[in-house]
Subunit: 243 residues, 6 copies
């Protein structure tokens, strides 16, 4: 890694301060306020015993997610999607990504016919909202699974087959960097979100050339950074769950 | 007031613990996390210099509000209005109430051609979300007005002609009570929301018989309770703004 | 009451001419054309034997209401909500108010598992459309209940536990006035809608400061006017039902 | 024509009682309550001086129409299109038909840059609602044109180039019949709506085989009936306008 | 017929080149690419064994149709109805017309409790898209019925009681013409779509005066042209089905 | 690469037969029917001289894309998004991907203030619809740029800075394979879409673990396959453009 200056003084391979506050809500079966620097996401995991009609009798559970941003999470206010009467493409895309990522670490058979709905609401956005959401959502999911376990409602064990965490990486001024704040995100030539398991395998890799196309070598450097970042996040998740 | 027991041990004329945390967000011109017991509402006041086209050249500003609840603010999860593609009647009704209440304490001519949009998002609901929202929104509005004042963007002074606060009251088991939590709200025979100014006049009175109709005498008892409660909230608002 | 002149020559505590024409439609189980001066509302009560699925087996019936305005009910044409694809906040709010008001005078257990849907369509608007709608809707509801009674479809008696009527009041030029036409409504400093039972208790009180906040004394004067107006409307309803 | 009995005792070539009441509304520039037997349609013609932006400077006016039914116009209640959030195909189709029919009798250049919007709201439906709407709408349109004429707002004369009226015809039990009530409409093998000018030319012919296809001969018989019916309606319109 | 020149050199009573390509899709039970000159419509007939719930146990099948245009089917691009979130009136109207036309040639009892959905997607539009769609849809429907027949899934025979074909006719420069391309369609004074059975009876007649009203004589000339055109199309359909 | 059998007999690193038919539509400035085996996508590029208001005066052009599927493109019919009134998440996601990919090979400054809208409509789907769409869309885009060039409407040259092509890869039964048909797509453990430039750099990499997470080694093998596939597609595009 180089010594190019980042505005917040971090090294290129350094995460922002990350905090995960469990049980932020009184009623949700799992809930977390997750912060990646100035990005704050409130995650609630809601358990419904039973599954939607189309899944009844399958013996399988279901995990789904919805992502949204409060209107003034950002520098300038955006209109509410409820008022516009439509969910935008970006919202849809991120909700689907979070859902897929969480389903990668749960055994839906072991979950039994239960449904877990994960709501990720961005209270403040400063880059990396989707990766903060996934990282926090794993912890809320784990708490929701514990809630089911305590009630003897799981079909078998282990319901969680591992953990998932996510981080953004990008190339700014030619330099690969970890965990981009908004200010770097808008300047990135290439932008990548990586979701990885606690044991270092890949769940999602989404890389996009914002400006010039990127080379295979650059892709490799970004993956290195991201996997190291995810390993750190895994440790933070573990610490939060053991607290 | 009688000595009938409330679940949380309060006297019939006692507010729940109320806290108002200013500047909860980094970017909004005014922002507040307001808590009435377990009810938590995040309020953001967003200033746009200039007004919508239909108001241009009028010399008048505009203040508007939107209210919403996160899906898991409540005991069981509700569907998102953005996903349903429609805003429900209750949401509409409360958004309009908040907007009207705030416009009662601002001189739109003094505000000049500026717009302030107030977003009230309920992070957790335990009764009285609309009254907590109004009470907190006044503080966020005052901060947004200060922001304009510091930039010399007000047309004249005073822009704020007073303050507003709001509280719910209701009759439970025949007893008039102040500031109902969810548990009392669902049991109330009569339910009333009162918005009052800092000098004790009325802005909105909305009383509803949930079960049997109520007498003029009961109405009077509820108004007494509510006006006293609003006076206490006014003092809490003032303290928060002076902090 | 003072002697200040009203444009239509009424005393401050005088209703406009009110007429209630029953059976205006051939097929509805109850129907009324109600007129408060130039305000004309067509009310239809539709009975469905049976209740929605979520209420089946409860032994309880249901009463609901929908309010709407024809596009040219007003001085200038408004767009249709069906064309806009959304129901506005005002429409929602009034529909909910009418429904709640009518449920205050019916015993849903005595109604048995039957549903009554009340449609209030404003053919011409000249102020007080929601209060005219409630006043007329009570009569249409009574006819729909009679229709069920004649078929032996009520679970017990009395299904109607009383009557409801509604009227608007407001302060214009400092003077409290009863039953505001459009022209007074737009000039009112304070505007209040009151729904009362036939025996003089309160079902809904909705008072709003349109300009300056109002004092407790002003509130009392408005309530006096409104309760007297509702008593007159109750007599007119009774006469219509006996005709 | 044969002697087969119609439920209401009419001859096969006889219209139902038709009444056209002008100025049913106080504010609309033209308004009519039109009745074809039990079918009652309230028509309002709203004039806006000026045209939509896309038509400005063309020197041409515009006439458009919207058709809708109140929920309880029919034997059993239908849901409101505003509540469903969508306009159905039938509503769209009829609105377009009414608009086209009216534009056939007006010279948009003579109308000048003015817009006339025609709202046809069915208060009660007993067959032939679209043809009653067109027949009444012509009269409301004529009144709206007079309103413009009185203000000197027409670009030239004559703005109305003729009149239009409409009627339904159909084959029931093998017999061609004029002006079908609901009961005949549902039983018709072939159903046709004809819009004709006051001088006996055709504006719209919409014939549909509901059951078996129909022959060219049957089509001719239906057209004979319809043109005779339209001639009678033209006389009724003229009488209404001269009243 | 006169000798007035048409841009494409056709006689007034001549069809454009018509081709019907069966089995254009691999999976649909019936599918056709139908071309009327530059107009190209892809028709797919989808069979579902079983009917919607509301029709179960009736012994009757159902045939329905949906019509749509690709955004760049036309000279200039139109917005997608899916993006606008609403289906336009024209789309609704044509979908309903196609469905009714096809149901005129099928015995829903013989079809048994099976559903056939016909999708008509206009890939390129050069006038007469609805009539090309109907003409092609009959062939796709016939293939879908054969598919059911081969599986022994028809309730009785014949399921198809005849064939339907459709063509547009219009008056251009005073001359009645058959099968209008876009360029003639926009200039037509009168425009008519006729759907006829293979044995020369009428299913739908929809004639519209675009400019001046049309006489009974003109209507007769148009019907003559259209019925002759439909007879030709019937022969082309038969040839396609025998290929 | 191994010798495991693919249903269609291809080698693991072999593309399906790919054809690109230019000028499939008469009016679009660029249009292509692209086929990857059974997958057929109709692509239309529509040029508008000028840009949306928010971009005026910037000197920059704009390229955007919309993706959709005909209802019967798939094995069983899906509902139309226009009828549902909402665009699904998958549609949104793919439309955005196509737009971003195309913007990676065009210089928006050289394009000048012109807009190119790319419509990708899937006529038949057999896996890889988004990658076929991108590959075909590049050719349609190139034709649209030529259309502008011929009119002297480009601001500078070269407007196209390279080419883009896309292909799907996945791991089936442990084996990395190129260009998955539907049947392999549903069985893939890992699924990746890669968009690359003609000179072998990366524009988008979207890899998803459908079952178990994938290792860095597997990612590498998939990238090798995909880049080789894109090189072949680049040659096919070039040949099509030279034809």
């Amino acid at each position: 890694m180089t010594t190019t200056e980042r505005t917040d003084g971090r090294a290129a391979n350094e995460l922002r301060p990350v905090t995960i506050t469990r049980n932020w809500l009184d009623h949700a079966e799992g809930s977390v306020l997750v912060e990646f620097g100035g990005t704050r996401v409130l995650v609630a995991a809601s358990v419904t015993e039973g599954v939607p009609r189309w899944r009844k009798g399958s013996g399988l559970g279901w995990v789904t997610a919805e992502y949204a941003m409060l209107p003034r999470a950002t520098h300038t206010r955006s209109s509410r999607e409820s008022v516009k009467g439509r969910i935008g493409g970006r919202t849809h895309e991120i909700s689907r990504l979070i859902g897929r990522s969480l389903r990668a670490c749960i055994d839906l058979g072991a979950l039994g016919e239960n449904m877990i709905e994960i709501d990720c609401d961005v209270l403040q956005a400063d880059g990396g909202t989707r990766t903060a959401a996934i990282t926090g959502a794993y912890v809320a999911l784990a708490d929701a699974v514990s809630w089911l376990r305590e009630r003897g409602a799981l079909a078998s064990e282990p319901a969680l087959t591992g953990s998932v965490a996510a981080v953004s990486v990008g190339i700014i001024d030619g330099q690969p960097r970890l965990d981009l704040p908004y200010e770097e995100d808008v300047r990135a030539e290439t932008d990548m979100n990586v979701v990885a398991t606690g044991d270092g395998n890949l769940v999602e890799v989404q890389g996009t050339a914002e400006g010039a196309p990127f080379s295979r070598t650059e892709l490799d450097a970004l993956l290195d950074l991201a996997l190291a970042g995810c390993a750190e996040l895994t440790a933070i998740q573990r610490a939060a769950l053991e607290a």
